[in-house]
C-alpha cells in the first residue's frame, strides 16, 4: 500500500482508531494483522518470504541467547546466511547471472550460464532483511535479549509504517515499545499528524513534480546535453531527498500517532559541509546499520591506514550494492567511498581555512562554499544512482558541460528554454518545481537549531491553522498526481 493513496487514507484512521479502542493485550495482534494487510496489498504471496525470515530469526535469536561459545556464532551465521540467501536469490541472482554472461561473452569462452529467472523483487526486501538481521546480531552481541513472543517479534519486522522503506530499526529501540501501553494523547497525535502532512507535501508536491523532469532527461539521456543534464541531476537530488525523507516522515508520523518512536532518518543532508557529515544526515538508519554491523566488524578505523581506507571503501561498495542489483549502484557506492577517503586528505586544508576565517561573513562564505561543494559531489554521484545503465551514466558525465559556453546566448531562444531547460514541460510546472525547492531549503534553513514542528507549535493557533490549510491545499491542488506515485526506495 502506498502512503500517498486513497487506500492509505482509509486504512490509517481505521487501524489507528481500532488500535486505541482495543484492550492492550490485543493491540499487537491488530497491528500485526494490519501490517500483513498493508504488505499484501502489493503482492500477497511475498508475505511468505517475510514469514520465512521471521521464523528463522525468531528461532535463531532464542538459540543464540541460550547457547555459548562457537555454537552462538554458528546460529548467527545460519541466520545471516538465511537472510542474505533470500536477498541474494530475489535481488541479485539475475544480476549476477547477467554479469557472468557478459563476462563469458567478452572473454569469448562460450560456456553456457544458468538461465535467468522470471522473479519479481519483493517490495522492501532489503529493508526488512536488514531489520531482521540487526535483531540476531544484537542478540549475539548481548545488547538485547531474544524476543520469546513470536507475534511481537513478527511485528518488529513487519510494523507497517517502516516495513517497506525503513527506517531500519534496532530491536532495543522498538521491541519494548510494542509491549508498552500507549495512550491517546492529543499533543502527540497532533505532532504525528504534522509530520505526516509535511512528508506528504515533500512527496507529492516536490518529489513527484521533479520526477516528471528527471524522467524526461534520464529515460532518454542521449537526446540531452549540458544544462539539461545538470538541471535533471540537481532536480533528482531534491526528488530523491523529498521522496525518501517524505516517506520517512510519514512513517515516523504515523508511528508517533499510535505512540511509537522510530529513529530519525534524515537531518537536512544538503546542508552538510562535508561528505562524512552528509552520511551522518542521509538515510541515517542505513548508514548506522553499515557502520555498526559491517564497518566496525571489519575493524573500523582502529587498523592501519590502508586497511582503514579499505574498510571505508568496501562498506560503501556494499551499501551501493544494497541499493540495487545494477553496476550503477555499485559505482555510486564506490564513488562515495572514494569521496570519503579523498576528504580525509583535504581535511587539513579545510581546517586551515576555518581557523583563518575571523569575521562572521568569512565563516558564512566558507560554510557556503563547503555546502555547495559537498552538494556538487553528491549530485555527481547521483548521476550513477539515477541513470538506467552504466552507459547512460557515463554519457551524462561526458556531456555534462557541453554547450555551457553558449548558454548565455541560448537562454534567449524560446525553443532552447522550452526543450533544454524546461525539458518540454509546462512553464508553471517548472516554476512550481523551483518554488518547491526554494521552500524546502527555506524551511530547512529555519530549522538550524530546532525542529520545524517546535517552531510551528510556538506560533498562535491562527498561524498554525493557516499553515495547515496552506500545506493541505498545496498537497491537494499543487500535488503532481498525474506523475509517478511510487516511492523510489520501494524498489530496494
Amino acid at each position: 500500500m502506498l502512503f500517498n493513496s486513497i487506500h492509505f487514507l482509509i486504512f490509517f484512521p481505521i487501524v489507528t482508531a481500532v488500535y486505541f479502542l482495543l484492550p492492550h493485550r490485543f493491540r499487537w495482534a491488530w497491528l500485526l494483522g494490519a501490517s500483513c494487510y498493508f504488505y499484501m496489498v502489493f503482492k500477497p504471496v511475498y508475505v511468505l518470504i517475510l514469514a520465512f525470515t521471521i521464523l528463522i530469526d525468531y528461532v535463531a535469536g532464542i538459540w543464540i541467547e541460550k547457547s555459548e561459545g562457537e555454537k552462538r556464532k554458528w546460529f548467527l551465521v545460519a541466520s545471516i546466511f538465511a537472510n542474505i540467501g533470500v536477498l541474494a536469490f530475489f535481488k541479485y541472482y539475475n544480476f549476477l547471472d547477467e554479469s557472468l554472461q557478459n563476462l563469458v561473452d567478452t572473454l569469448g569462452l562460450g560456456i553456457p550460464t544458468p538461465p535467468l529467472l522470471k522473479i519479481l523483487l519483493p517490495i522492501g526486501l532489503s529493508f526488512h532483511t536488514f531489520q531482521s538481521l540487526s535483531y540476531t546480531i544484537e542478540v549475539y552481541r548481548r545488547k538485547t535479549p531474544a524476543e520469546h513472543h513470536l507475534g511481537i517479534f513478527a511485528l518488529y519486522v513487519m510494523f507497517y509504517p517502516q516495513l517497506v522503506a525503513g527506517p531500519i530499526e534496532r530491536p532495543q529501540n522498538v521491541i519494548h515499545q510494542f509491549k508498552e501501553r500507549h495512550y491517546f494523547e492529543y499533543e502527540r497525535v497532533k505532532l504525528g499528524l504534522q509530520l505526516m502532512m509535511w512528508g506528504m507535501f515533500k512527496k507529492v508536491v516536490i518529489a513527484d513534480r521533479l520526477a516528471s523532469f528527471v524522467n524526461v532527461a534520464y529515460n532518454d539521456v542521449h537526446s540531452y546535453t549540458g544544462i539539461s543534464l545538470i538541471l535533471a541531476t540537481v532536480f533528482f537530488a531534491f526528488q530523491i531527498y523529498c521522496d525518501f525523507s517524505g516517506y520517512s516522515d510519514i512513517a515516523l508520523g504515523s508511528a508517533q500517532v499510535m505512540g511509537f518512536r522510530l529513529m530519525l532518518n534524515f537531518d537536512r543532508p544538503y546542508f552538510a559541509k562535508s561528505i562524512s557529515e552528509f552520511w551522518k544526515r542521509w538515510h541515517i538508519s542505513l548508514s548506522t546499520w553499515f557502520r555498526d554491523y559491517l564497518y566496525i566488524s571489519l575493524g573500523g578505523s582502529r587498523v592501519s591506514r590502508p586497511r582503514w581506507y579499505f574498510n571505508l571503501f568496501f562498506t560503501f561498495l556494499i551499501s551501493g550494492l544494497w541499493h540495487g542489483a545494477n553496476w550503477t549502484y555499485v559505482i555510486w557506492g564506490a564513488l562515495n567511498g572514494f569521496y570519503l577517503i579523498a576528504e580525509m586528505q583535504w581535511q587539513g586544508v579545510v581546517e586551515n581555512f576555518k581557523s583563518r576565517a575571523e569575521t562572521g561573513f568569512q565563516r558564512f562564505a566558507l560554510n557556503l562554499v563547503l555546502v555547495l561543494f559537498t552538494f556538487s559531489l553528491t549530485c555527481f554521484a547521483w548521476i550513477f544512482f539515477r541513470a538506467n545503465t552504466v552507459g547512460d551514466a557515463f554519457y551524462v558525465v561526458r556531456h555534462l558541460f557541453d554547450g555551457l559556453t553558449t548558454l548565455p546566448a541560448d537562454v534567449f531562444s524560446m525553443p532552447f528554454v522550452k526543450l533544454r531547460i524546461m525539458l518540454g514541460k509546462d512553464k508553471w510546472d517548472f516554476i512550481l518545481a523551483w518554488a518547491g525547492i526554494a521552500f524546502l531549503l527555506f524551511t530547512h534553513y529555519l530549522q538550524r537549531g530546532t525542529s520545524g514542528r517546535t517552531i510551528l507549535n510556538r506560533q498562535k493557533i491562527a498561524v498554525r491553522w493557516a499553515f495547515y490549510f496552506a500545506l493541505v491545499s498545496a498537497i491537494l491542488f499543487g500535488g503532481a498526481f498525474n506523475e509517478s506515485q511510487q516511492f523510489i526506495y520501494f524498489q530496494f
Binding site: 486513497i6 486505541f20 479502542l21 482495543l22 484492550p23 492492550h24 495512550y183 491517546f184 494523547e185 492529543y186 497525535v189 497532533k190 532518454d220 537526446s223 524560446m414 525553443p415 522550452k418 526543450l419 518540454g424 514541460k425 491553522w465 495547515y468 490549510f469 493541505v472 491537494l476 491542488f477 500535488g479 498526481f481 498525474n482
Partner: protein, 326 residues
C-alpha cells in the same frame, strides 16, 4: 486515570473528542469544496447533479480540456469508428460522415492537440473497445517532438483515481467559468481579434511560422506511430491518416523555413504506418482564401469536400498515398 467503556480512559476520551472536532472543522472547507465540484461537475464526470446546463458546460469544457470532456463521453458511449487529431479534425461533422459512409464515428480531435495526445488517446480507446477504423489527422507543425502538450494524462489520472477530479486545476477553472456563465450569464467565448481579416491572416501566419522555429525531429512520435500501426495490423484495425489542407500561404512557410526534407519525412513516416489522404498541396482548393477560416483551418464547405473525398473515396483535391511499410 478513570476507565471509561471501550478500554479507553476518560482523559483519552477528551483528547479523542478534541481531535475529532478540530479535524472536522479543518476538513469542512475541503469537504465543501468537493461538494461544490460535485454539484457543478464541469466535465459531467459524475453526472450527479444537472445544475449547470449542457450548453454552458460544453463550450467551456471543450476550450479548457477537450480530452477530459470527449473521453469521458466516449467512456459512456464508445464507438468503433474513431477520428483523432487536432483543431483541423475536431470540427469534422460525424453526422455528415455517417450520412456519407454509414459509419458512426466518435470525433476525439482536440483543439491544440499534440501528437502525444493523439497517441495516448489511441491507447485509451483500444483499452475500452477495439475499434474497426481509425483516422488520424497529422500535419507537419505538430509532427514535432517539441510539441509535448498532454492533457490526456489528466483524463487518464482522473479515470484511474476519480478523487483527482476534485483537485484538478482545469476542473476548478471550468467550474469558475460555469458559475460565471450560469449566474452572470457571461458567455465563454474566444475573444474576436480587433483587426481585419487580412491583418488576422498575416498575424496567424506568423504564429504558425513559429512552429518551424520550435522544431525537434519527431523520433519519439515516429516510433509511437509505428507501434500503433503494428498494433492495428495485428488486431485488424484499419488505420488511415489525413494531412489536412493549409492555404498556400501556410504551405509556403514550410519552404521558407527550409523544411521540405522534414515534410517528405512526414509523408514517408505516415505511409509507413497506413494509407494517407494528403490535401496539403498546391491546388484550386488550397489557393483560394475563401475556403479557409484562417491559413490552416478550412471552412464548413471545405470540410464537407474533405469528408466526401475521404469517405466516398471520390478524390479530387486529396491524394491517396498507399501504405508502404519500410
Amino acid at each position: 486515570m478513570n476507565h471509561s467503556n471501550l478500554f479507553i480512559f476518560n482523559s483519552e476520551k477528551r483528547d479523542v473528542v478534541k481531535l475529532t472536532v478540530r479535524l472536522a472543522w479543518f476538513g469542512l472547507p475541503f469537504l465543501l469544496a468537493a461538494l461544490f465540484i460535485l454539484i457543478i461537475d464541469p466535465f459531467d464526470f459524475f453526472e450527479a447533479a444537472g445544475v449547470i446546463p449542457d450548453e454552458i458546460k460544453r463550450p467551456i469544457a471543450m476550450q479548457l480540456n477537450p480530452p477530459l470532456w470527449k473521453l469521458n463521453r466516449f467512456e459512456k458511449d464508445p464507438k468503433e469508428f474513431i477520428l483523432l487529431g487536432d483543431s483541423r479534425m475536431a470540427p469534422l461533422e460525424t453526422e455528415v460522415i455517417k450520412e456519407v459512409s454509414g459509419e458512426d464515428y466518435a470525433n476525439l480531435g482536440y483543439g491544440g492537440a499534440s501528437v502525444r495526445e493523439i497517441i495516448e488517446t489511441f491507447w485509451i480507446i483500444v483499452k475500452k473497445t477495439p475499434p474497426k477504423k481509425v483516422f488520424i489527422g497529422v500535419n507537419l507543425e505538430k509532427y514535432n517532438d517539441y510539441e509535448v502538450t498532454n492533457r490526456v494524462s489528466s483524463y487518464a489520472a482522473i479515470h484511474e483515481n476519480p478523487a483527482i477530479y476534485f483537485v484538478d486545476h482545469g476542473v476548478w477553472e471550468a467550474a469558475y467559468y460555469n458559475i460565471r456563465g450560469y449566474w452572470g450569464k457571461a458567455k465563454f467565448t474566444l475573444g474576436t481579434p480587433n483587426m481585419t481579416r487580412e491583418e488576422f491572416w498575416q498575424e496567424d501566419l506568423k504564429t504558425w511560422g513559429l512552429y518551424y522555429k520550435k522544431y525537434a525531429e519527431p523520433k519519439k512520435y515516429r516510433q509511437d506511430l509505428l507501434e500503433i500501426s503494428k498494433y492495428c495490423r495485428k488486431n485488424g484495425i484499419e488505420l488511415k491518416f489525413i494531412i489536412f489542407p493549409a492555404h498556400i500561404d501556410a504551405q509556403k512557410l514550410i519552404t521558407d523555413a527550409g523544411f521540405q526534407t522534414q515534410n517528405e519525412a512526414l509523408h514517408r513516416d505516415l505511409t509507413a504506418c497506413g494509407d494517407v489522404y494528403d490535401f496539403n498541396w498546391a491546388n484550386d482548393l488550397t489557393e483560394n482564401e475563401n475556403n479557409f477560416l484562417d491559413p490552416v483551418h478550412v471552412n464548413q464547405e471545405t470540410r464537407r469536400v474533405i469528408i466526401t473525398e475521404v469517405w466516398k473515396n471520390d478524390l479530387k483535391y486529396g491524394k491517396l498515398l498507399f501504405y508502404a511499410p519500410q
